[in-house]
Symmetry: C2
């Protein structure tokens, strides 16, 4: 995960990174009719320290009740609001290969306010094909599709070679938040918010720890 954007001025990036995790836990409490949760319980579920939880929540205001804990409903609203997942986020995906299709169908991309409203590709062989309830559109239709939307988030799920051009097309369509799944560092205008997600990077880090473990075993 690359840290391309930060500097909120207000709330530390590390805290922001934990909010979605808290949100997921709190939502499962909601589903299970749990009304109140303590920082200790939440900390257990999130695998962090309870002081960290309490400190993190102070960035959302004074939400808890001393002696009792946090009302789940209150937490849910506060975190959603802070993340912005309480309102709609249209998402468009460029690249209708396996990854693009996987993301289009992914529950995380069609809940919490997010919904995939367009799937684009340049390959004539996939344009027109059906994915879920979407039809793959040519990239040339991007502007038209997003022109009446606000705060559209663009996902780059193209091959690395096409990533840069795709980013420019998105910016041209006034998309200012881009999540890039192609393993390339995009060299684009700083006013655009870019987050890079590199799936194979995780694999290499995993290899490191496996090597460590294997070495340790062989020492015995």
């Amino acid at each position: 995960m690359t840290r391309d954007i930060d500097k909120t001025g207000l709330i530390p990036g590390k805290v922001v990174d934990r909010l979605p995790l808290y949100l997921r836990i709190v939502k499962s409490c909601l589903n299970n009719q749990v009304k109140v949760i303590s920082s200790e319980e939440l900390a257990d579920a999130a695998m962090v320290n309870s002081a960290t939880v309490r400190r993190d929540f102070t960035f959302l205001g004074s939400l808890g009740v001393r002696g009792s804990g946090y009302e789940v409903e209150v937490l849910y609203r506060a975190i959603s609001q802070k993340l912005g997942t309480n309102h709609a986020w249209p998402v468009i995906i460029a690249g209708a290969g396996n990854l693009g299709k996987a993301l289009t169908n992914s529950p995380g991309f069609n809940s919490n306010g997010f919904s995939v409203v367009g799937l684009f590709d340049v390959d004539a062989r996939v344009i027109g094909s059906q994915v879920n309830d979407l039809v793959v559109q040519p990239m040339s239709e991007l502007n038209e599709t997003v022109k009446d939307l606000t705060n559209t988030i663009g996902i780059i799920a193209t091959p690395p070679s096409a990533a840069e051009k795709t980013a420019l097309d998105m910016i041209n369509a006034n998309i200012l938040s881009i999540l890039n799944f192609a393993p390339t560092l995009l060299k684009i205008d700083k006013k655009v918010r870019v987050r890079n997600v590199d799936l194979s990077l995780e694999l290499e880090v995993m290899a490191f720890y496996s090597t460590q473990a294997a070495n340790k075993k062989s020492e015995i």
Copy 2:
């Protein structure tokens, strides 16, 4: 990205996280016939501080030449060795949906020593279908496929509901390193190295920064 495994004792997790990035940059130098690179140049490419680069490299030994820089070839070998990407890593993927197929075809999963050697599913409708040069196998064949391999890495690309059982199947097949793409925290034996990759989490963090930016704009 969750920090489930750490505690190398030797090399800090933050440094490990940067090694794959350095490796990619160094590899591109190799491809471009660049023989020597300074910490300053590398830092620029990786978007970190040059002192950080030099400090990170001390964990790999004393690799540089004062007054000149680092030999690209030397760096490449040292980082590959430390990460373990200098030897073969068999990878098996459970879940032959769009995500599983995307990962199977992903260059990052078929380079740097990694190669996907098996793709598994429980759904009779996809078992037997061809993905790249692999045929989707039933989960019941997992043990047989990996029994002669060492250091196999298992990828969970199943729906969340099947993640836990899949993890147990992998452990049963003696797979001790698991990369989990399902949005569930696996409750399994601590001897198994698990890394969780949550794609939608990134989307929520992105939403936060977009909200920030939108708010800032409306303040003007």
